[in-house]
């Protein structure tokens, strides 16, 4: 067991030394793998952020019920009673036209526009919070509220959430496809790198076979090489994604206050980073495996 560890250590040290001997080629290889991995990982992170955003937003889907301009106090009370009595409604909040105007006034740049209006153009409105979050019941309530007397318009505030949800689903599929494709690219890159390395060590491999090296012994340093390339490539990808998120967050810090929010892109969790690295190592290993096996098969045949 100790001897076995000693040999693995030796193999690993030799592989590291070999990588260090050609720093330029190694750096380029690592970069190629890093960029290939950074794309799907980066998109995954951004999607994760959008997803949590849409989850927060869709917790309580809302309907805005706008009343006709000529609705009298009695009409408003009647509509409010109907809204409160409807199935699947959890809360009803009345926003009078005056309150709405005050709120609008506070929004940046709107003051002058409003001041120039002869009268308040806004209608009275109810903001109805639904208890059921499924799109079907929201649709049903939307139709029901539209038919109430003195209701001019009903706007489903959850519509954009649904649209975002559909877009996110599209995005997730894209991430899967992208990961598959670029994972394939990673395998191809390591395959070729290892193949090159095999060719430069051809004499050594042939000699080792003549003096009784098993296939496992011959494969070992190349497995290390492939896995190390995957690991370094994965680390490069993480560095790219994290610095990318940092840059985006700096810009968001300027942008977010303008929208009255403090949206920030969350960094991937350590679990996500570790599984990304493990996947990179596994793909590098796979590339090495395919490359060495192919070479040994060819050598066996000749």
């Amino acid at each position: 067991m100790r001897v076995w560890l000693q040999h693995h250590g030796l193999s690993l040290a030799q592989t590291l030394a070999r990588l260090a001997r050609s720093p330029f080629a190694t750096t380029l290889n690592v970069l190629a793998i890093g960029v290939a991995l950074a794309l799907p990982f980066g998109v995954y992170c951004v999607l994760g952020n959008l997803e949590s955003l849409s989850r927060n937003a869709s917790v309580d889907p809302q309907l805005s019920v706008f009343l006709a301009r000529d609705a009298a106090k009695a009409d408003i009370a009647a509509v409010e009673a109907r809204l409160k009595g409807a199935m699947g409604v959890s809360a009803v909040r009345f926003v009078s036209r005056d309150a709405a105007l005050v709120e609008l006034n506070r929004a940046a740049g709107m003051g002058e526009v409003i001041a120039s209006l002869p009268q308040n153009p806004l209608p009275d409105a109810f903001v109805v919070t639904l208890s059921a979050s499924d799109p079907a019941s929201a649709d049903r309530l939307e139709v029901e509220f539209k038919s109430l007397p003195k209701v001019a318009y009903v706007q489903a505030d959850s519509a954009w959430v649904r649209r975002l949800d559909a877009l996110l689903r599209l995005g997730r599929t894209a991430v899967v496809l992208l990961s598959g494709l670029l994972g394939l690219a990673l395998v191809a890159v390591t395959f070729n790198t290892i193949r090159l390395q095999i060719l430069t060590q051809r004499d050594e491999i042939e000699l080792c076979r003549l003096i009784g090296a098993t296939h496992a012994y011959i494969r070992r340093p190349f497995f290390y090489l492939g896995s190390l390339l995957g690991l370094f490539g994965g680390l490069a990808a993480l560095a790219i994604v994290l610095s990318g998120l940092m840059v985006l967050n700096r810009d968001l810090a300027h942008l977010a206050p303008l929208y009255g929010s403090d949206i920030r892109l969350k960094f991937p969790t350590s679990d996500e980073m570790i599984s990304g690295l493990v996947a990179a190592i596994a793909l590098g290993w796979l590339g090495a495996y395919l490359s060495v096996s192919r070479h040994l098969l060819e050598a066996d045949r000749s």
Binding site: V3, H7, E206, L207, L210, G212
Partner: protein, 222 residues
Amino acid sequence: MTGGVAIISLRQVSKRYPGGFEALRLVSFAVEPGEMLFLTGHSGAGKTTLLKLIAAIERANGGAVLVNGQNLSALRPAAIPYLRRNLGLVFQGQKLLFDRSVFDNVMLPLIVTGQPYREAARRARAALDKVGLLQREKANPITLSGGEQQRLCVARAVVNRPAILLADEPTASLDAAYADEIMEMFNAFNQVGVTVLVATHDRQLIGKYRKRVLTLDHGRLQ
């Protein structure tokens, strides 16, 4: 098999290369453990092919090759490395590795077979001492003379203490003094019990030893 104790035995062995060239035709002979013998013949007679069959580098098309009691044509590919660990090979085109020291070249067979490092280093130095290269252990083999390089190959072949030593034209590129030196080494290994099979076309060298000589002529044993 006649004696039943032969360490190498060939029975009716034929080898035909793709393209139809028949390198060996119905070759049969047996080697006793601890024997030293020469294999000779004109160039292209099949000496190298014969050694390659014994080392399982090539496979026979017909007949049976037995080494250490194992039938090589029935050997699984995964078992070949373990067979070769009992063989010391000194082949043409020496295959020394010039990216490492003399010492590391001799270490390789021990590393490959998984010896503990300390023990391996001790044995590598002993082997280098036997061929008179201990002083040069840190040198790069490319700085060695032809005779020294060949001695290094011998050290690498015997460092694993193989039961059988196969040498293919070990003296081909050496002048007479160096050739004698190498052959004396093989003789010394034979005296401590190693079975030695040397392929050479150097009749003069063969004449100096009273050993059995197998002569190949166009793939047939005379």
